[in-house]
């Protein structure tokens, strides 16, 4: 090969071949096959009913939102294991603020919420602010103490969960208005698309644009690909990484409020496998665990897989817990494939 001549693009795969090699497209095919497969196996094609598919979308919304955030974090070569704990803590703070401002203690105990609008607005603000603050703590620890983000967020995962339990004495925040659920959390646009999913799709669309078309996105990938190269290009990498963790935290705060509207209660014992599910979706979707290569579309599509598996298995009368086993195995396979790809290109 001639050192100064970049080879003309090889007469390789056509548009179809290239599309099939792109992970998001491949994942979309896998998802389609799973849906059709479960449809065929389920009694009377029950799996394919609009109501079932709509429920799957609702069940996937929080994981998808977190997966979109994790895509940005992994793109920069970092990791955030604390997102589940962040969702729990942010929903606790959001719920407490919401309940406290919606009416007097006596009123809310009687399910009366005279100041509901104020309460909801403040609750959203509190949840997102708590999430962002949680992310800022992660970001500060990672960039100031220079401790690996795997360890930092493993630590803050425990700290966040513990704080939520301390704040609530281990029981869920009481008197969260049911209206959140009946007016938003389980409502569907045209009877099909759950409201929370609309929020998730809107945010994901913005993030997709940011990663692909803005300096912020390019710098994120540059940092993940080679921090040294990014710094030599004049990019201030530590502030950028800090901002990414704040962004991830804010998204966890949004997810926390969506969770609150969906269940009309906090879930202080929950979200223990949320980080695993989101990170698995991101890696399965084609984002490199080693940074530098990321696809938000791939993460969004792949985040459907665990929920489709769980729902499909239930309809088939198999324990849904098998889904955890399947996702764990797919995750390991996806990382192995990613590693191979890197080694081949070395």
């Amino acid at each position: 090969m001639n050192g100064l001549t970049l080879d003309p693009p090889a007469a390789g795969p056509g548009p179809l071949g290239r599309a099939l090699r792109s992970t998001p497209v491949a994942m979309a095919l896998v998802v389609a096959v799973l849906i059709l497969g479960f449809g065929a196996l389920s009694p009377n094609w029950a799996f394919l009913r609009t109501s079932n598919l709509s429920t799957i979308t609702l069940n996937v919304s929080v994981t998808m939102l977190l997966a979109v955030g994790i895509t940005m974090i992994l793109a920069a070569g970092e990791l955030d294991l604390s997102i589940g704990a962040n969702v729990v803590l942010s929903s606790v703070v959001g719920a407490k603020v919401l309940v406290a401002l919606s009416g007097t203690p006596d009123e809310v105990r009687a399910a009366q919420y005279p100041d509901l609008a104020l309460g909801v607005a403040a609750g959203i603000g509190a949840a997102v602010a708590t999430g962002a603050a949680f992310g800022a703590v992660n970001g500060l620890l990672v960039t100031r103490l220079r401790v690996n983000s795997f360890i930092v967020t493993l630590g803050t995962m425990g700290i966040g969960t513990g704080t939520a339990l301390v704040l609530t004495n281990g029981s869920n925040v009481p008197y969260v208005p049911r209206l959140l659920q009946t007016e938003f959390g389980v409502v569907r646009l045209f009877g099909v698309i759950p409201y929370p999913m609309i929020v998730v799709l809107a945010i994901s669309g913005v993030m997709l644009y940011v990663l692909r078309h803005t300096r912020f996105g390019l710098y994120t990938l540059a940092i993940g690909s080679s921090r040294e190269a990014a710094e030599r290009a004049g990019i201030r990498t530590l502030p950028h990484v800090f901002r990414l963790f704040v962004l991830m935290g804010a998204l966890a705060g949004v997810a926390a409020f969506l969770d609150l509207t969906r269940f009309a209660t906090t879930n202080v014992g929950g979200h223990q496998t949320t980080a695993l599910a989101a990170i698995a979706a991101v890696v399965i979707g084609g984002t490199s665990l080693f940074g530098g290569r990321a696809t938000i579309a791939g993460s969004m599509v792949a985040s459907l897989i665990p929920v489709i598996l769980a729902t499909g298995l239930v309809i088939l009368g198999v324990q849904a817990f098998w889904q955890l086993i399947a996702v764990g195995m797919i995750l390991i396979a996806a990382v192995a494939i990613d590693q191979r790809r890197r080694e081949r290109l070395k």
Binding site: L6, P9, A229, R232
Partner: protein, 265 residues
Amino acid sequence: MRQIERLAEMPEAGPAIEAVGIEKRFGHIRALDGASLAVRSGEVLALIGDNGAGKSTLTKIICGALAPDGGELRFWGRPTAVASIRHAQDLGVETVYQDLALAPDLSVAENMFLGREPLMRRLGGLVPALDRRAMRARAAEALAGVGISLGSVDRTVRELSGGQRQAIAVARAVMWARSAILMDEPTAALGTRQTAIVYDTIRSAADRGLAVVVISHDIPKMLSLADRIAILRQGRTVAQERAADLTLAQVVTLMLGGNGREEAA
């Protein structure tokens, strides 16, 4: 920037870049201990020294990647504390690093514009976006300008050979440089023919009025290519002479030690 270009046209203002008595320590290691060099616009200065002499460290101090512990930098005679790589870039100084400093997962075009991407506006000027078309076109043009024929600037750097990567780093520096280029062993990964192209590029950059500092172990070639030679030994500049006044034997002696200064004079 405009002001700098005007300064560059005034040789009486002093050398484009001057480093005087630069010191740099890494813990107990004295990487630089009185390193000096001066290079004028339109001139090629070869910086020569044994491994570990401090050549890369001096380059990084001039381009703002490292802060010196002592000494002074002057640009066109004006003392300047280079605060950051951005600052050096604003002075028109570009660098080819020994390790190239390319992001392997980004495309050739993205690497060449990283940190200085052209933007366009979408949705009636509300939303900023990378102007990828402009990046591609100008990157391809810059690569062609240094004699690199090219299939696609969309390929990631990871897919390219060591020689191709080095060529991209050189093309990037040439594309952005307005007053000076620092090249730290820019031909280390290149074959004979490609090396010749880079040497041509260095000469033509100087002919266009840029000040060029090139680090190389090919001393015979430096004696013919460079206008002047600076020799660094154990972090100290032991000689700075016109290339025409030096022989290969003198350079080697100065570089490796002995009473080289007298011999060169």
